[in-house]
Subunit: 435 residues, 2 copies
């Protein structure tokens, strides 16, 4: 029996996994049997061979996007999720500006992490529910498009995830990797670039686990004939300064309006460079060449213009790229939070900041809940910064004075200080290429 | 979350287990969650504390038999199941004959193992579906009664077992022990005696595992205030000579009609002695005293008479105890199987013999199937016997000539021979008392 074999640490092959997963979707394999198999695998471990086979089974469960009609190399980008992680809003227009085609299917935020769809939908008029022909048309005209995951792609992943979520079987590298990669492969791009977050605010707290997940994903991509590169990046503190939906759009516009600056820009450029190098042209560009090309479209305003065209194509008010504060919804209460301490910032715990923003209304505790596009936090400190008592730590954007006061107090409490010198931590920790 | 804690090898307490199991029965905890918990526990192990708590939760799920109105000490007996294991047919009348009261709720056979209900029901007219008041009346008048498990006792065990059966989570000492002991404790007897089988034809192939299960069960009994003794006994070869329903009743009658002889009689006497010693009287009898008392009611025909009275009280034809061959159904084809080899019998694999009898129609491959009361095998050899070519190995009782020929050939193939001397193996391997 398949479940018993997994219970003893054995390996299931492609046909067996297909039988199990298809059976679960169609009713021949019960919820209990599927959960028992998942738990056995989570404890005993799934092999890389099983991860690749499971990815294939998940892909087979639904439709696959055909991007072959697009002019230019196709690329996709995925982040395992974090706080103030607005990289998609930068990477998409950057890559489109240098001639790549990016059709990105995104998700919504949950818990302490934000979701790209929620951020984009803070722009008045913007639609993320797009039909395949609309996706392809925008990708062809603009170069990039960011839309909602469709239920027609990898439906088995959705069904399995719902079961994993209630049976304590989410935390398995192979299950996470096959879930991520099946969605990326089914979305049709030739090249895949992954941002695997590690640290306090990430799904994978330890760097070793994150790197192992990255290697697993890269191997699955290679096996499927989709060149994949992964960066392992730090998520101990929020990546950008804006934590909240409209606040993160505003930050993206601000960043693209000037020369690249800060950790969010650094990660976005590195991801775009990896994608361009791996999948950009038939002749592989060198690292310096790709960086130069990307900096050039960033600094001359092309990337911002591309973002504006994408927003317009998706029905949004593109003037957000000229005057974000005028277009985006604004919170009724905006309050500065000043430092009580002085010294050097030792930590700004990402998860706690994310949870704080969610509590203000920027996030949801369960799928399907509404989010408030306007509220959130804009940070004014990062690890290594020196501050005097009274300096502004952050600005809280809230629905009420009470919310703002509560969030301000919580923020003050969670920023950690030291009198010792603090070295600014690295943000890009590792790059994982095919072996 | 409880399931995640178990996944990491943690322990759940009584309230948590009650919440889980009750939730599963009532629908608040899904089949998948229950299966994930079971699988985590099977792999990580359940603690003895969890086994005791789970036993309590299972008992609480249903009614409990009240035997306090019976005159005389109450005792119950359980075997973990084997081949040609007709001990209940001997132990029940033996104990009743020395003044104990035994209300035994039994199950049916499955796979290679036989079930006491199936055996008893081969007696024309005998009913095993008895209401509680009928059970108590017969136990009071005769001293013993053997009836079908009722759905009102430990319904949670039935529900959990059905899930374990399809999720590869049966093989857990704690789950087996809590299942066995919850049913025994709910059945109300003051003293419990267990026959934990080990070897090829047993559920627990290794002696160490069987002894561990025995210790776990004895500990649960002690914890619940029900003195429990367990014997670990060998199930490498069939225990009795009859393998089949009517054939095992016939063997029991034949054994009780003469002085105790053979391994089946030895185990029955040892189980009865353990029960009598532990639960018989307020003054503990010594080993020799209990053996003498039991041999006396065996040899003077009292036990056989008690069996006849029990059969009559349950509606069966009691003359089976005088002329079993006339009363019991007979198979149309009865064929002797002769030895091709000569030498010493090295093995008569119990599981294979049990499967052979089941294939003849004596057993069932899934619950609910009918069994043929008449068919089966009567063995004429055991390990250590010396035989010449042409000697009779067994008699096959079959529905057709073809069935008989096939079973005969299979039997010849599965008996193992050697030219070396073979020591007759011990049958009673270990006795486990409360610590």
């Amino acid at each position: 029996m398949l479940i018993g074999r997994k219970r003893e640490g054995g390996e299931l092959d492609l046909d067996e996994l297909r039988w199990l997963v298809t059976g679960y979707l169609e009713g021949g394999v019960s919820e209990g049997q599927t959960a028992a198999w998942l738990m056995a695998g989570v404890i005993r471990g799934f092999s890389p061979v099983e991860a690749r086979a499971l990815t294939q089974v998940l892909i087979e469960s639904g439709e696959v996007l055909d991007l072959s009609g697009l002019t230019g190399p196709t690329v996709d980008k995925h982040s395992t999720g974090g706080v103030a992680d607005g990289t998609t809003l930068l990477v998409a227009p950057l890559l489109a500006s240098v001639g790549l085609r990016l059709v990105k299917l995104s998700g919504r935020g949950l818990g302490h992490t934000g979701g790209t769809l929620d951020k984009l939908e803070s722009i008045p008029g913007l639609r993320t529910a797009l039909e395949p022909d609309e996706l392809l048309r925008i990708a062809d005209e603009v170069g990039c498009v960011v839309a909602a995951q469709t239920a027609r792609l990898v439906p088995a992943d959705k069904a399995l995830y719902a079961l994993r979520d209630i049976t304590a079987t989410v935390a398995s590298p192979a299950l996470i990797a096959s879930s991520v990669m099946s969605k990326k492969i089914a979305a049709g791009a030739q090249t895949i670039v992954l941002d695997v977050k590690t640290g306090d605010g990430a799904f994978m707290p330890s760097r070793d686990e994150a790197a192992a997940l990255a290697r697993l994903c890269v191997g699955i991509g290679a096996d499927a004939g989709r060149p994949t590169v992964a960066l392992v990046t730090a998520m101990d503190q929020p990546l950008g300064t804006g934590v909240g939906n409209a606040l993160e759009v505003e930050e993206a516009v601000r960043l693209l309006s000037a020369d690249p600056d800060g950790r969010l820009a650094e990660v976005a450029l590195a991801l775009a460079a990896a994608a361009l190098q791996r999948g950009g042209t038939t002749t592989v560009m060198d690292a310096a060449g790709t960086r130069d090309a990307l900096r050039s479209v960033w600094c001359d305003g092309t990337a911002l213009e591309t973002l504006a065209r994408m927003i317009a194509a998706q029905g949004g008010d593109a003037t957000v790229c000229e005057a974000p504060a005028r277009v985006l919804p604004q919170a009724p209460v905006v309050q500065e939070v000043s430092a009580l301490h002085g010294g050097t910032v030792a930590a700004v715990p990402a998860r706690a900041v994310g949870e704080l923003a969610a509590r203000l209304g920027a996030g949801r505790s369960r799928p399907g809940e509404d989010v408030d596009p306007a509220v959130g936090i804009v940070l004014n400190v990062e690890v290594g910064d020196e501050r005097e008592p009274g300096d502004v730590l952050a600005t809280v954007h809230a629905r009420t004075e009470d919310d703002a006061a509560e969030a301000g107090a919580a923020l003050r409490a969670l920023v950690q200080w030291t009198d010792d010198p603090v070295q600014r931590p690295e943000t890009i920790l590792e790059r994982v290429d095919e072996e």
